[in-house]
């Protein structure tokens, strides 16, 4: 009970330490979504339209990677970025950049797989009309991505939700350094083990609110689209 009111106090009083952590978490996860979208949207779209040997295997792999365990991604990125790793010279390990990379890898398959499915369905629906309008193969993808925009934003929200809530990858490649790479999830893990329950619970409340807001946005978007786009 005492911890609970302490947590609430931290949240409503705008505790600077708490909100610094929240800001970093949002910055990292939003950057990761942007990066993942940059790769995942064209990749998923191309996969929906192109036909080549091995396409089925690639689709299965990407679908399977939607459920990548964050700690495994963290470990892989750790090995890449550590001093002796292939990208060790850039000195990125234990920086926010490393956390962005790890989360982007984690959610690129989510965005790519959902994009692939959405664009493929839409292409079936649009194919005859687009061919009859003389749309060139190159222009197809742009049209399909645009007309699938609502579903694609929803996919990005799903990716953001997963990034913001994961702890394994950012813990391993970020190192949970106070004031530098400490995110909501890593802070919760640490503060809980240290016994500082008010901070952990306060961050938990904020994280929960963010996840709720993300899902509410996805819902609102769908309602809006149903009414305004059809």
């Amino acid at each position: 009970m005492h911890e609970g009111s302490g947590a609430w106090q931290l949240v409503v009083s705008g505790d600077p330490a708490l909100y610094a952590i929240v800001r970093l978490s949002l910055a990292v996860s939003l950057s990761a979504v942007a990066l993942a979208a940059l790769v995942g949207l064209p990749l998923g779209g191309a996969l929906a339209l192109a036909r080549f040997p091995g396409r089925g295997v690639l689709i299965v792999i990407i679908n399977a990677f939607m459920g990548l365990p964050p700690v495994v991604v963290g470990l892989a990125v750790y090995l890449l970025l550590s001093r002796s790793g292939p990208l060790g010279d850039y000195g990125l390990l234990f920086t926010p950049t490393a956390m962005v990379i790890a989360q982007a890898i984690l959610i690129t398959p989510i965005i790519a797989a959902l994009t692939r499915q959405t664009v493929e369905d839409l292409w079936l629906e649009y194919r005859d009309e687009m061919n009859a309008m003389g749309v060139t193969p190159f222009a197809r993808l742009a049209t399909l991505l645009y007309d699938a925009r609502i579903a694609l934003v929803t996919a990005m929200l799903a990716g953001f939700g997963r990034a913001a809530a994961e702890v394994g990858a950012v813990m391993i490649v970020g190192g949970n350094i106070d004031g530098f790479t400490r995110t909501m999830t890593t802070a919760i893990a640490l503060e809980t083990s240290k016994g500082d329950l008010p901070l952990a619970m306060g961050l938990g409340l904020v994280l929960l609110a963010i996840v709720l807001a993300v899902n509410a946005s996805a819902w609102g978007l769908r309602v809006f689209a149903e009414r305004r786009i059809g």
Partner: protein, 242 residues
């Protein structure tokens, strides 16, 4: 500007189309030239939609050849198609037209004027900003017509464009089609409504079980049908294999 290459005459030379084990169309010889509307009639499953898809270049024949203005290149130049169930893009009515104009190669600076003109031709000026997929069935059909006309077609293919419309909406669509025909657009249209065929046709192609059974001027087709099968069809009998 657009390529000068014409899409007419549209020519089917000994065309057959096979899907799996079934011949959807067999030995079709047909030349479509500029002139009064050609209506494609026949029972359900006769192959009317399939023939139109070949005419649009959406599928290639298994045997024989389809050519447009003498060329076998299926890329549409000045032809357009209205599908039985048109798909509206997820944008406004006006944006649907702009999309068609853009991909027909129309210069950007004339888009606004062309959109206004097209919307006026189909009586949809008031819905330009509305999401296309939120329009009523008849409005969507007229918008799809405008979108086809945006290609400034020499030949317009229509697949039972009024099958799901009430009489008022049907009349609106028929008027637009007749206006297009009057302005020189060749119409090739499938219909199973003989009343509609009487109202629109200059020429009738009667398709049965994938075969072009009879092709005649509309008057001849209705007044002096040549074969017993055509006579049976006009009486309203169910006609099947020849």
């Amino acid at each position: 500007m657009r390529a000068p290459a014409p899409d007419l005459p549209l020519m089917f030379e000994n065309v057959s189309l096979r899907a799996g084990d079934t011949l959807l169309l067999r030995d079709i010889d047909l030349i479509i030239r500029p002139g009064a509307p050609t209506l494609l009639v026949g029972p359900n499953g006769a192959g009317k939609s399939t023939l139109l898809r070949l005419a649009m270049g959406l599928v290639a024949p298994t045997l024989g050849a389809v050519t447009w203005g003498g060329s076998p290149d299926p890329a549409p130049r000045r032809r357009a198609m209205l599908f039985q169930r048109p798909v509206m893009l997820r944008r406004s009515a006006g944006a649907n037209l702009i999309y068609a104009l853009k991909h027909a190669g129309v210069a950007r600076d004339v888009w606004p004027a062309r959109v206004r003109d097209l919307l006026e031709r189909v009586g949809l000026e008031h819905v330009a900003q509305r999401p296309a997929r939120k329009l009523l069935g008849g409005e969507q059909q007229r918008l799809a017509l405008a979108r086809a006309l945006a290609r400034d077609p020499e030949i317009l293919l229509l697949d039972e464009p009024t099958a799901n419309l009430d009489p008022a909406a049907t009349r609106a669509v028929e008027e637009i089609v007749l206006n297009a025909a009057a302005s020189g657009v060749k119409i090739l249209m499938a219909s199973h409504d003989l009343g509609q065929v009487r109202r629109l046709a200059g020429e009738v192609c009667f398709l049965v079980a994938g075969r072009l059974h009879e092709k005649a001027a509309a008057e001849v087709f209705f007044q002096h049908p040549q074969s017993p099968l055509t006579q049976a069809f006009l009486r309203g009998d169910l006609v099947m294999e020849t």
